[in-house]
Symmetry: C2
Subunit: 173 residues, 2 copies
């Protein structure tokens, strides 16, 4: 079996998580098993997750973050949650039961030193043959980009909130 693709969607623009979601949608269409691990809460609503689970038993979601940011008041708790999420990612990759593993916002864990970059690179590079992995998040590190097969930088040209448009149901990113 050929090596799967490691894709990274980075940059400050909208479309990183939605691209990952589109890939998940396609994979389900091919009858592939998909695991989504979200390291920052809130990108996908519970309604969307419910819908995804309803349409296919092949997709599973894990929300491992509480929405930590640089403003967080409890860094120790955030770090512990991030590390727990990363452990789940490691186990999921090693178990090799999915065709596609989406690690949504993983880049933040590296950037804020919540997990070791070397370990992330090692686990991703040793992923089982045929397993595709998608990593999303701003500020993907140089080494992660080096390791990846496909990298797109989503560059924000215009953001709807910048001109006063509120987030709209069915169109959040």
């Amino acid at each position: 079996m050929t090596k799967g693709i490691l894709a990274v969607f980075t940059g400050n623009g909208k479309g990183k998580t939605t691209s990952a979601l589109g890939i998940a949608f396609r994979a389900l269409g091919h009858g592939h098993k998909v695991c989504v691990i979200q390291f920052i809460k809130g990108n996908w609503t519970s309604g969307e997750q419910l819908f995804a689970k309803n349409i296919s038993p092949l997709i599973e979601f894990h929300i491992m973050g509480k929405g930590f940011t640089w403003k967080s008041e409890n860094l120790a708790e955030d770090t512990a949650l991030a590390q727990k999420g990363w452990q789940l990612a490691v186990e999921t990759i090693e178990k090799n039961e999915h065709h596609l593993v989406i690690l949504d916002e993983l880049t933040y864990l590296i950037r804020y030193n919540m997990v070791s970059e070397d370990e992330v690179l090692r686990v991703l590079s040793r992923r089982p043959a045929g397993m595709h992995v998608v990593v999303t998040g701003r500020h993907a590190s140089e080494k992660l980009i080096d390791l990846a097969d496909l990298v797109t930088e989503m560059v924000e040209i215009k953001h709807p909130f910048a001109n006063g448009t509120a987030a709209q149901k069915g169109f959040e990113f």
Copy 2:
């Protein structure tokens, strides 16, 4: 009802159509009606379309292009097909039966002068209240970007075919 979002995904990187697909997925999760018009054949396989239709009666697909490129041998036929596709887009927007209309690869029709840019801008700017429209494709024109609420440029940092990896089932973009 507030004005819906006009989003444009442009640039040379992967993730434009998949982002649109992710947005469609989300919209379906909210019970919204989605119409996808593809102006270039081949981005989404019939298997994926079948899957989408199976999971929800709320999504419809129209493939209006034959995969025209600058190498096309029959420009008149390609142009006629493109114009037919654009007419369907105009009717779909004016009928106002969908929450989300995806015009996949529409930018090429403007770039290759198959449809009038002024007309595209006029139709998009007069879309019904509450209707979201997503336009994808390389080389979005300056006027289209000016009109849009949200614009992301997908910039190719790395492409898997560049290092010899073949397109893989369940991971095509």
